[in-house]
Symmetry: C2
Subunit: 432 residues, 2 copies
């Protein structure tokens, strides 16, 4: 019986796995150097966990299941609700600010397409328990630190930054009611993906007042924080949020990453839970979907039964990133070559057991060591050793009748005879 893989999932053959590990290990390394600690949660949670605040798009894309106890569960489509649950569970004992990262496997039942699969990996970094703009800046810095580390430059990528708090204040200045904000965000978030006509038609349907409609259209064309300042002059909250945005850009400048960042009022974020800074990372050519994004969320922990504690976070998936890296030719160059410490060859079937013994001793001492099950002539075995990037090749041949081995340095090609017992007793545990 031949059963295919499920559409939208990936098989990671060893070369694919090397690439996946290279991506995820990079995320982990950068998180650690930015002071984040790793956490993880279960692959499934109660279904309702993801219906609270995840936004319609995610809630519609759940892989849900019912276990035999009748519990309604779902495979996690994002890890932020789990993060909120876990932090709430230990809120009193965790020192603040909590700086955590995770690299969860996530599933969303969407139609597979370029940069979107039904199963993917996503880097998450979050800072909980500080409303300081330093936290917003650190999260953005951390994302840029990673992208720079793997070889992307300010010419390849841009972090587009705005503020929901600012947008809310300005929209309210214009006359939009507070309860109209959420549906309006959902529409404004789609602006860049919709044809101009369609967007304007949908906006007109949502905003009956002609002057308000015009002001919103104008607002969405604003290019600088300075312009917002003029509009926001009458409103204290708006002014405050504009000042905050300026401070954030100043901090990013102090951190040396301002060249990667620009203000962009069109950044809204699809998820329902953002309340302050919002940002998305794009390729400069804007040919791909967002590589990542995030922002400040003030109410999520409270929504999950915890205290009112502010938080800011970022997510970056592996799919769009991999496309960008391949397009820029960055991936192939950086992948670590498979290599081994020793290859143990044998010149005759009768020396196989000796080869096995040497292999086992070297492995136990920490060395990556290989040998061939099937006997072939030594030159073929040397070729195998070379294909595996072995540093050294040990040959068990007729010299063994004198208790000697041939040890060949594969980079210089130099060979030398070594006493077998001395070789074995000289094996030192490889330093880690």
């Amino acid at each position: 019986m031949k059963i295919p893989p499920v559409k939208g999932t990936r098989d990671f053959y060893p070369p694919d796995m090397v690439r996946r590990n290279w991506l995820t290990d990079g995320w982990k390394k950068i998180s650690l150097r930015n002071g984040f600690e790793e956490y993880d949660g279960p692959i499934f949670e109660y279904l309702k966990m993801f219906q609270v605040k995840s936004g319609d798009e995610i809630a519609e894309q759940l892989f849900s299941l019912t276990d035999r106890g009748g519990r309604e569960l779902a495979i996690r489509p994002e890890i932020t609700p789990t993060l909120a649950r876990m932090v709430n569970q230990q809120i009193n004992s965790l020192p603040k600010p909590i700086k955590w990262f995770s690299v969860p496997r996530l599933c969303r039942a969407e139609r597979p397409q370029k940069g979107r699969l039904r199963e993917f990996f996503q880097w998450n970094v979050d800072i909980i328990g500080s409303d300081d703009l330093l936290a917003d800046a650190e999260v953005i810095f951390c994302a840029i630190d990673y992208l720079q580390d793997i070889g992307l430059t300010k010419n390849n990528i841009v972090v587009k930054i705005s503020s929901r708090k600012m947008l809310a204040a300005v929209l309210q200045t214009i006359g939009v009611e507070k309860n109209e904000l959420d549906p309006l965000y959902a529409l404004l978030d789609k602006q860049s993906k919709l044809p101009k006509d369609t967007f304007e038609k949908l906006l007109a349907e949502k905003v009956a007042d002609k002057s308000q409609y015009k002001k919103i259209l104008e607002l969405m064309t604003v290019k600088s924080i300075e312009q917002i300042k003029t509009i926001a002059a009458q409103n204290e909250t708006a002014k405050e949020s504009v000042n905050e945005l300026n401070s954030l850009f100043e901090l990013l400048n102090v951190m040396g990453v301002a060249d990667f960042c620009s203000f962009d009022i069109s950044i809204i974020r699809g998820l329902a839970y953002y309340t302050g800074t919002v940002f998305e990372i794009y390729d400069r050519a804007s040919e791909l979907r967002a590589i990542g994004g995030g922002g400040r969320y003030d109410n999520l922990l409270k929504d999950f039964g915890g205290p009112a504690i502010s938080a800011v976070g970022m997510g970056m998936g592996d799919c769009v990133l991999a496309i960008l890296l391949e397009e820029k030719g960055i991936l192939p160059e950086q992948l670590p070559l498979a290599k081994s410490d020793y290859f143990i060859a044998y010149a005759d079937q009768k020396y196989l057991q000796k080869a096995v013994e040497i292999t086992a001793k070297l492995r136990l001492a920490g060395f990556i060591t290989n040998f061939s099950y099937k006997f072939s002539n030594v030159s073929k075995q040397l070729k195998q050793a070379s294909n595996q990037n072995a540093a050294k090749c040990v040959i068990v041949g007729d010299e063994f009748e004198n208790n000697e081995l041939v040890v060949k340095d594969m980079s210089t090609g130099r060979q030398e005879l070594t006493n077998f017992d001395k070789f074995i007793s000289d094996i030192k545990t490889k330093s880690k």
Copy 2:
């Protein structure tokens, strides 16, 4: 709204995650030094993938779901069917023997109990495309290599080894029909878990012939391969499989791990797909469930629509292992301490931006660097630095008016003044 985690799943807070990473990183390190390459598959597959050959226990414990396209799916309870599918897909292009490992997250809808959870991690190593006993020996060696590496000895653990091929031949010599073997295995596998009376009653129900029943009971008390030899003398297949078992033990001796291994006729394995060598790893005191196990499976690839290719593999979960390591006091000693390269302190709020600038520069150069968002006096910040095991602490204080920084070595306590520009220009990318 407060939502609990699902019973039988685990939250990995940072200290738990350090422990999980320590376990799984160890599995990966040992796999690589034994010449295995890493692979992975999707977290879910078509439901029927796990109904083919996984054995009743696993098939009953599936978390199954139906997607919106009406596809019947299941979260993977084991990775071997995925392995068979993946290898079959590329069977002609993959060089043999295929030596692959994986550390999948798996889910089984069982009742949570000691050493058994509904979500766990399992180390898998498999060698496909060789029927050489070297492969059986390498898989067993690899498991022992890991257990030894983390500090377990032959006094802590034992690998109990038998052969289904041998058992089948001997049972057939006794008079058991070929089609009666599978249900008989299922019962014999449970012998150690059942009270003596219950086992004998169930066996009597299955084996009507009194003399056959007696011979099977006798067979199951056999303690050595020598004893089997006598029973197997009349049957060629049985004799051959006894010789194979002897050769396997000889190889394990050559590899230097024979002290960890013993013959045990009661080892059958629950899974339906084993056809040759079978083994299980136990704590010497036999107080816990099996730590791991595996064996040779000749028909699995064929059952999944591929060619008839022999394979041998091993699985080891994280739950029982963690219990054993905790009982032996091995885990707490080995966990890597969190540490950082730098902590950047500031003696006055006005120096915060400088601290942020230095932090960013050090991180971009690869150093794990932290600072405090909130200002507190320098001695408090030094305490933070010490709590984080920082190697060095940079203090931005009044010396900065002369463009100087204090750099304190946290292990010696020695402090020195350094010119700020020189400090910055001296930062070299940390070697990896």
